[in-house]
């Protein structure tokens, strides 16, 4: 035994075996205890409950859903809500972040000060508190009868109403997808070294844009519901506001929270990126006769983004996880529907499994995709000089 312990290899093997046995032991113990508890409470384990009807409705949904639908559909509703909020929130946080980063790096000291105040206030207060505050603010607005109006929109305690199109949801989704694909296509053409050097690069970009506009117009026309005006304008009828698109305060407070809190973090990351771009780069661009806007959009911004993209990716994943705050204001995101389902169906372990698996898949997909982008555009070799 003593000689066995003296051998390094044997020791390593033993240690790992013990470690593995301990982990398997803990998992097995949890499994045994779990199945005993489940049996004691008379719950049948398994995933059959997913096909049962839920019996309750939810507030915010992107697809048709009612109490007669199954738990599987409810979870899909939550999943789509999370993706929708996450996507819009990240885009909004990016816009805020870029603007604040520009303020922080501007020539004018007053603008610097504004940026600094913004960052120090909003980064030092927990996001959950900010979301609850915005929610309280939005629900304390005047009722629909005295709603704030402007640009064809209404802002009231029941929600914000903006003009929309009378187009069925499927066709609206398709046209959004076309528009997104077109933007990605144009960006790819501009980013790709091979394509952007072609003389016809500009022509290709215009062709994509034109094609996309036609395709979107055609889809919208096809999806237009007969007998209604194309534009759906919100208007006050009786005690409530009808037509238009209603943005519920639950969604809007989360979106504002993500934009403001996430924006403060993203601003600091982008600012670090701006500072890492050597002065020589901007001066060289200036001396080549580029306008200030060109220096910014063609030299400083692309170099800055490339320098900080890995950090930005982490921030995006973090922001995406922050959508789980939906439960504090009653937005039915993925976490909220799982939590409600646990209460209603009682299948705690299965539902938590779905929740964790869902987040692992979504977050790793975001990180994977963005890391591929990073690999594709990262500065290599001689481009790194400052």
């Amino acid at each position: 035994m003593k000689s066995l312990l003296a051998s390094r290899k044997a020791r390593a093997f033993l240690l790992q075996a013990v470690f593995l046995i301990a982990i398997v032991g803990v998992l097995a113990g949890a499994y045994v205890q779990g199945s005993r508890n489940i049996a004691a409470r008379g719950i049948t384990s398994g995933f059959e409950f997913l096909t049962r009807t839920t019996g309750f409705n939810v507030g915010f949904k992107l697809i048709d859903y009612s109490g007669y639908d199954s738990f599987a559909r409810l979870i899909l509703v939550g999943l789509l809500n999370t993706l929708f909020l996450g996507l819009l929130g990240i885009v909004a946080a990016n816009i805020v972040g870029l603007v604040v980063a520009m303020l922080r790096t501007a020539r004018n000291p007053i603008l610097n000060l504004l940026g600094t105040i913004y960052i120090e206030i909003f980064r030092n207060i927990p996001m959950i508190l900010q979301v609850v505050f915005w929610y309280a603010l939005l629900t304390h607005l005047p009722p629909p009868k005295e709603a704030l109006q402007g640009l064809g929109s209404f802002i009231s305690s029941r929600g914000t109403y903006i003009p929309g199109l009378n187009v069925s949801a499927e066709f609206a989704a398709i046209s959004c997808a076309i528009a997104l694909a077109a933007v990605m296509g144009i960006v790819t053409v501009s980013m790709s070294r091979k394509l952007s050097r072609l003389n016809s690069a500009r022509l290709i970009r215009w062709a994509i844009a034109l094609f996309a506009v036609c395709a979107v117009a055609l889809t919208l026309a096809l999806g237009h519901e007969d007998g209604t005006p194309l534009m759906s304008m919100p208007e006050l009828r009786g005690l409530n506001i009808r037509d238009g698109i209603r943005i519920p305060p639950e969604f809007l407070s989360l979106l504002i929270g993500m934009a403001i809190y996430g924006g403060a973090y993203i601003a600091e990351i982008i600012r670090a990126g701006f500072l890492s771009v050597g002065k020589g780069q901007a001066e060289a661009a200036q001396s080549l006769g580029l306008t200030p806007w060109q220096v910014f959009s063609r030299v400083r911004l692309p170099l800055a983004i490339r320098a900080v993209l890995p950090t930005l990716i982490n921030q995006y994943v973090w922001l995406f996880k922050a959508t789980t705050l939906g439960i504090v204001v009653g937005y039915t995101d993925f976490f909220a529907v799982i939590s409600v389902s646990i209460n209603q169906a009682g299948q705690t372990l299965e539902l938590i499994g779905i929740l964790m698996l869902g987040f692992l898949i979504m977050n790793n997909t975001i990180a994977f995709l963005l890391n591929r982008v990073n690999d594709a555009i990262a500065l290599k070799g001689s481009q790194l000089r400052s």
Binding site: A12, L15, Q16, F19, L20, I23, G29, A30, Y31, Q33, G34, N37, I38, R104, T105, R107, N108, P109, I110, L111, N112, L114, E120, I121, N124, I125, P126, M127, I128, L129, V132, F133, A136, A272, F274, L275, S276, G278, K279, V317, K321, A322, T324, L325, I327, V328, F335, S339, I342, T348, L349, I352, L355, M356, F359, L360, N363, N364, A367, S386
Partner: protein, 359 residues
Amino acid sequence: MSVDTLSPLPGRKQSLLSRLFSRPLDVVISVTVLLFAASVLWQLSKWAIIDAVWTSPDATSEVCRGVSGACWAVIDVRWRLIVFGLFPYEEQWRSSLACIVMVIVAILSCVPMFWTAIRLSALWIVGFSIFYALMAGGVLGLTPIAPDKWGGLTLTVFIYAAGMLIGMPMAIALALMRRATLPVIARTTGIIIDSVRSLPLITILFTAALVLPFVLPEWLLGDKIWRVILGFALFFAAYEAENIRSGIQALPSGQEEAARALGLTYWQRTSRIILPQALRNALPPTINQFVISFKETSLIVIIGFFDVMASGKAAYGSGEWSFAWVEVYVFVALIYFIFVFSLSRYGAYLERRLRVGQH
């Protein structure tokens, strides 16, 4: 990266005035922004100070009727609820003393005299024990108070301090295990760390509070608050382990090789050579992680704890003061701001201090 050698503004030495008004465009921007800021500041101070009501003599909301400014009287009347939660009234001195002890511990650990592993851990363990004894009671003739009565700011401080105290050793262990030469241990730890990092904190707290009772035997269950603290510590440890690991990887390999050549054992190498330097390398992201974790304690409100945010909500939510929600949220935000801002300022100071002599 040569970030710190570059000045973000061209011509730092120019006087402020000439930078404010150097070009016509700058003049326009400066004047507009200054005017706008002045008007916002005026409105704000009018609301928060000039027109505000500070106290309520009869502890009702009557004094705030028809007042255009802030009604700080709500804080005057309800601050005990916000700070102490449902802690029994006559024992609230214990709660405040406990909070003060923890703040003193936090301030002391910023003093360089305490910057050795033994002193720092001793300080925190002693401080935390005093805190716990004061809160829970049952010793020295203090009446016992169950954790479900704890609330408000003290609960936030308690969960944070306990989480960090458990999380830091856990983080070091996880970082070392992930760096281990034994593949099974390194891989498994890697999977655990990466999985925890890609889950939202709230799902982990939720699991700790509601799912663990399903899979743990009765004798291992403990109180809900300790399970939540363990979940919180695990989440912190997963992030902090990666900071420490990058601190270790930033060390020149010569350090480890030299220690090995001197015949030091693994534990000697780790505790005398590697960790002291690695932790120093990892200090800036560690402070950042501490700051983020303090803000994240606020999530416990979702799984039903009565922390400072929930007690704030309760302070205005009871009909009479329901109009004063802005004042209450501003007060709670201010509490968080003071804690988080001072911590992050201290972190920035440390970072500057550590950079001295490293170039």
